[in-house]
């Protein structure tokens, strides 16, 4: 019933906004033989341009699995995934790399900055793979770091930055190639509440400037700051269009 409703509302909104993510009957099965794990079961989901969306659910419910598929880091076992209207389940490795490079930005719980590079060099890395002219790279990296409030930390190595600052460098790296979609798997999972708020403010700001954002989170306080919540249970989409206010009820139930 709920699913039917949400499908109807989706159909309505497509009239106005282009669809960025369209998952159609996606399944993901890990392992072989006896030890098969059905991480995602026949999940369908649509995200439109400009949305600010969080994915929640119990541990092991398939949140990361679906994020990896959305982020083109992994392929679904079955089903179709249209990213910006391109069926990426049909693409080869090199084309997927290209899509990750220019269409997607990914932020990880563990930051994943390269230790031997400075903040600005880390942010320049995606542009190296994109073939941006060397002269332009630094300007754009500085611009991105300024956007996340780190204009004064350009030349610090990751180990000279706090966790929150490192995550902001990672966000700058994710947005520097001007992606259509910014993805984050528990971006505040390794941060305390104060730095969590710093990072969330940046996400909110980025979304207000027009970037579509999908993030996975465990924290109700984080999810509440987004505008739509998708709830996973046992690899299925249980609710696809919860409002931040609905969270309190769910958390109780």
């Amino acid at each position: 019933m709920q699913n039917q409703l949400s499908t109807a509302s989706e159909a309505l909104s497509t009239e106005f906004k282009p669809v960025i993510i369209r998952l159609e009957n996606i399944s993901k099965v890990y392992g072989i033989g006896e030890t098969l794990v059905h991480a995602i079961r026949d999940a369908s989901l649509t995200v439109e341009q400009g949305e600010y969306c969080s994915i929640m659910g119990a541990s092991g419910s398939g949140k990361s699995s679906v994020m990896n598929i959305i982020g083109c880091l992994d392929r679904p076992t079955s089903g179709h995934y249209y990213l910006d209207r391109v069926d990426v389940s049909q693409l080869g490795d090199t084309e997927l790399a290209r899509i990750r490079n220019i269409k997607l930005g990914f932020v990880f719980q563990q930051f994943h900055l390269l230790a031997q590079l400075s903040a600005v060099e880390n942010v320049m890395l995606p542009m190296v793979y994109a073939g941006v002219k060397p002269g332009e790279r630094r300007d754009r990296a500085v611009e991105a770091l300024t956007k996340v409030g780190l204009a004064n930390r350009l030349n610090n190595k990751p180990n000279q930055l706090s966790g929150g600052q490192q995550q902001r460098v990672a966000i700058a790296r994710a947005i520097v190639n001007r992606p259509v979609l910014l993805l984050a798997d528990e971006p505040t999972g390794a941060l305390d509440s104060k730095t969590t708020q710093e990072v969330m403010d940046i996400f909110t700001e980025l979304n207000e400037s027009g970037i579509t954002i999908v993030m996975v989170t465990h924290e109700a306080d984080v999810a509440r700051q987004t505008r739509r919540i998708v709830w996973f249970r046992d690899g299925e989409v249980l609710h696809s269009h919860l409002k931040p206010e609905d969270i309190n009820q769910l958390a109780v139930s």
């Binding site: 990896n68 982020g71 880091l73 992994d74 490795d93 090199t94 790399a97 290209r98 990750r100 490079n101 220019i102 990914f106 990880f108 994943h112 390269l114 031997q116 590079l117 890395l125 995606p126 190296v128 793979y129 994109a130 073939g131 790296r173 994710a174 190639n177």
Partner: protein, 404 residues
């Protein structure tokens, strides 16, 4: 991503891991330095040997007992005798000088000192044929040879060992308990093919045969070999031919020769073959160390791939293609090998120059060896870099990112 970017990226990584990079290079450096030094020293030895043979005088021929094909045979026939030498003087017109020689090793004593040296029984002809000179005193005469006199001319090293700085001429030395009067000292000649020509005592041929060695051949006075000088460069071939014919007649040979006549050119060829083989062997040993160095590069690159799995995953997540990763790791391996190769070349060349400065070996700096060594080490980087680089490139981004 272009190749310049990849080189920059690889250099950054290598510089960030200075200790590991330099240890990896060490294998290649040692391999390369030894290839270049070994080949250079081998070639130097070859050149030195050739020069020494050329210094014998260009027209020298050697008659040695035993068949050429049976040189390994320890029982050389005792058929080469003094009378053969005399016959050559009389009957071979293309010959300038003939110097029969008897060689043995004995201990030589003076007062309470003694030294084991080479004893050379010769005739006065030895001096012109082999271009030796007396430095002090005189050489013995044909009279001394006829009369079995007990006189000796000492090499400068023998003098040094037995007499130090004091005068030797007029003193008496003992060989096999026979007393010899020292009448002269030879000019220094240096070593010849590793044997020290200055550590030699020269005595009359007959004295050596009769008093020191004892006559053992039924054919006459047996000699160790005969040095002959041809009249001029054009008569070397003729001399070789005529001497062979004469000796075949004298030795009544119907099937296989019991002697060998070698020209200097023959000897040079043999020396060339031997020292060429030596050079090749040295190069092969050095080549093995280069190979081991290459395996070191592969080993480190494999460790590096394992250690940097997360980095590889991250690079892939932000858009690196398999080819980007492959090229990055290949270039790291190639830079390590090539830089090691170039450093090794400098060290090898330095080693050669050092050897050249402190020994008579004028080791050649072979551009070919350098080109091959640097090329090979670059190739080793390529070859041993492929496996780790492919492994890195084919990592699944998600698996790579998750690895802790």
């Amino acid at each position: 991503m272009d190749i310049l970017e990849s080189i920059k990226m690889a250099t950054t990584t290598l510089v960030a891991n200075k200790l590991r990079s330099s240890l990896t290079m060490l294998g290649i450096i040692i391999g390369n330095a030894s290839v270049i030094a070994m080949v250079g020293i081998g070639q130097g030895a070859q050149k030195l040997a050739s020069e020494q043979f050329e210094s014998l005088g260009p027209n020298v021929l050697f008659i040695i007992p035993g068949n050429q094909n049976a040189q390994r045979n320890r029982d050389v026939p005792k058929t080469l005798v003094l009378e053969d030498a005399e016959a050559i003087v009389r009957q071979v017109p293309s010959v300038g000088g003939v110097a029969p020689q008897i060689q043995t090793r004995q201990s030589v004593t003076y007062s309470n000192k003694n030294t084991n040296t080479q004893i050379m029984g010769v005739t006065p002809e030895f001096l012109p044929v082999r271009s030796f000179n007396v430095a002090k005193g005189r050489f013995f005469s044909n009279q001394d040879v006829k009369g079995n006199t007990q006189v000796a001319i000492l090499g400068p090293d023998v003098v040094k060992k037995l007499f130090g700085n004091s005068n030797s001429i007029g003193e008496r030395v003992r060989i096999k308990n026979i007393s010899f009067l020292v009448i002269g000292v030879m000019e220094s000649k240096g070593s010849f093919l590793g044997s020290n020509q200055d550590d030699t005592v020269y005595i009359p041929l007959t004295t050596a045969a009769n008093r020191i060695i004892g006559r053992t051949s039924p054919y006459g006075l047996e000699v160790s070999f005969i040095s002959v000088s041809a009249k001029d460069a054009n008569s070397i071939g003729a001399a070789q031919f005529q001497i062979s014919n004469l000796l075949r007649l004298r030795h009544k040979i119907t099937t296989e020769d019991d002697f060998t006549v070698r020209t200097q050119k023959d000897v040079l060829t043999i020396v060339g073959t031997i020292s060429g083989a030596l050079t090749l062997m040295l190069a092969a040993i050095a080549g093995i160390s280069l190979f081991v160095g290459g395996i070191g590069v592969m080993n480190i690159m494999l460790v590096s791939v394992t250690e940097r799995t997360q980095e590889i995953g991250l690079r892939k997540a932000i858009g690196a293609t398999q080819q980007d990763i492959l090229i990055q790791f290949m270039i790291e391996a190639i830079i390590l090998s090539a830089a090691g190769g170039i450093l090794g070349t400098f060290i090898g060349v330095g080693g050669i120059m050092l050897v050249g400065a402190v020994t008579p070996l004028k080791a050649g700096i072979s551009p070919v060896a350098i080109a091959i060594a640097v090329g090979v080490s670059g190739g080793i980087g390529l070859f041993f870099g492929v496996v780790p680089a492919r492994r890195a490139a084919q990592l699944d981004p998600i698996v790579a990112l998750r690895s802790a």
